[in-house]
């Protein structure tokens, strides 16, 4: 599987945020999207996920430009958890909803265990701290198998131990042929990762 972008231009709020971004990602590879705040890291990831319109340029997956969104995970700043439902119920829902042609990923308990959250399976998501909510959102990566991972500053609110767990999960994903694009400031320990530097559009 190969995700290619040529001269991507993305507008947001009426302003040109991303100008001429190029990248080429295939199985097992990782790409760090770097740049100062406001350089459009989040904007780029949201556009790839189909959550923002692409102003110009081309984005295709193995030559196809259609429904790229259904083969990727997008972990943004909001965790997508309903406070009234338990963490397990939330993840079970996303596992069923984001499943591709019926293929289910790991069980919510298993996915939460990978991020040290096994103890909150039956606790309403509203009780979780910011760091826990972040890890619960990351657990979504495991409940529905999807090859491309778009991670927007995944390490915010994570302690060192959780960052280690994330590193391990990402390494396994790449070993299994998955691809990762991560917008981040802190080093993620993704060895052999390419870098896409976004400057402030002149």
């Amino acid at each position: 599987m190969r995700l290619k972008a040529q001269k991507l231009c993305i507008d947001r709020g009426g302003r040109r945020i991303v100008e001429g971004a190029d990248f080429d990602l295939s199985d097992g590879q990782a790409l760090i999207v770097a740049g100062p705040n406001g350089a459009g890291k989040s904007t780029l990831l949201r556009a790839i996920a189909g959550l923002l319109p692409i102003a110009a340029g081309a984005l295709d997956l193995d030559g196809e430009a259609e429904d790229i969104a259904s083969v990727l995970h997008y972990i943004g700043h909001a965790e997508g958890m309903k406070p009234a439902l338990s963490v397990g119920e939330n993840l079970a829902f996303w596992g069923a909803f984001l499943a591709r042609d019926g293929k289910r990923g790991r069980s919510p308990a298993d996915a939460l265990g990978a991020f040290g959250l096994a103890h909150v399976l039956d606790i309403p998501a509203g009780y979780l701290s910011a760091g826990q909510k972040r890890r619960a959102a990351l657990a979504r990566l495991l409940v529905a198998p999807r090859p491309i991972w778009l991670l927007d500053e995944p390490t915010t609110a994570l302690d060192v131990r959780s960052q280690g767990a994330l590193g391990q999960v990402m390494a396994e994903h790449r070993a299994g042929g998955g691809m990762i694009m991560a917008a981040t400031h802190s080093p993620l320990g993704l060895e052999g990762a390419g870098e896409l530097r976004l400057g402030i559009a002149a």
Binding site: G113, A118, H119, G126, Y127, Q132, R161, A165, E172
Partner: protein
């Protein structure tokens, strides 16, 4: 007084008090119902339907009594900011709403033979309907605000604002009622109360009051346990973190 009002003391005090109250309620209501159906005379005008009075009138009194309890608990919340007062306030609202609803339904059924329809916008019944709306609004307020302290304070202030407004509402509804000369003049106070009717009514009223007290204590206990459960869940989530190192299963 404060030292005695902490939740754990209330839980221990309530444990024996509930069965006693429940027993008293059962006895009083049993005696009352017996008197109502087998001793009290029928009314020369309304005939048998006057027997509805024996639940309609106590329900009305309890609807208002519950609001008084809620208002004093609201004072407890605002003045002493005490969790037990919050619990007492929150648990009184559904009970007050229930009694007011019963008062309205029985009033409507009692009036049907006289009015020909189930509802006439009679001054007293309409005021009780407005009281029910106030109760339902306060219950909705409790359901909407998650954070306990804020919910308690908001409900307390609204309850007291409501308390001040109830007499004003009563007065304006009466004025509205007389202004429009309703189709048929009918007062639900019913016939003059003879002593043979008074006793059953008083016994039923006291029985209903004990019913309210029993249910109120049970509800307060529930609220205290609910808050304790909420706190312990937070602790469990945090505790899980502390011993988290052990629970990081290697990602298989």
């Amino acid at each position: 007084m404060l030292r005695y009002a902490n939740p754990s003391f209330v839980l221990r005090f309530v444990k024996p008090a509930i069965p006693i109250c429940a027993g008293l309620t059962a006895i009083l209501l049993a005696v009352g119902l017996y008197l109502v159906f087998f001793v009290a005379p029928a009314d020369y005008q309304q005939g048998e339907t006057v027997r509805i009075m024996y639940i309609h009138v106590p329900a009305a009194w309890l609807g208002m009594f519950a609001y008084m309890v809620m208002s004093s608990a609201a004072l407890g919340t605002l003045v002493w900011r005490h969790p037990v007062a919050d619990a007492a306030q929150k648990s009184a609202a559904p009970l007050g709403a229930m009694f007011t609803f019963v008062c309205l339904v029985t009033g409507s059924l009692w009036g049907k033979p006289m009015w020909g329809t189930y509802w006439v916008w009679d001054a007293r019944l309409t005021s009780m309907l407005v009281l029910l709306l106030i109760y339902l609004a306060l219950i909705a307020l409790w359901q909407t605000i998650e954070e306990p302290q804020r919910a308690a304070k908001a409900a307390a202030v609204m309850t007291l604002v409501g308390l001040v407004n109830i007499p004003i509402i009563k007065f304006s509804v009466d004025w509205w009622n007389t202004l429009h000369q309703p189709a048929s003049v009918f007062t639900t106070s019913g016939p003059a109360i003879y002593s043979s009717m008074l006793w059953p009514l008083l016994i039923m009223a006291v029985g209903a009051t004990f019913l309210f007290l029993t249910l109120h204590m049970m509800s307060i206990r529930n609220e205290i346990l609910r808050r304790r459960l909420d706190r312990l869940t937070h602790l469990a989530v945090a505790a899980g973190e502390a011993r988290g190192t052990a629970s990081f299963e290697p990602a298989r």
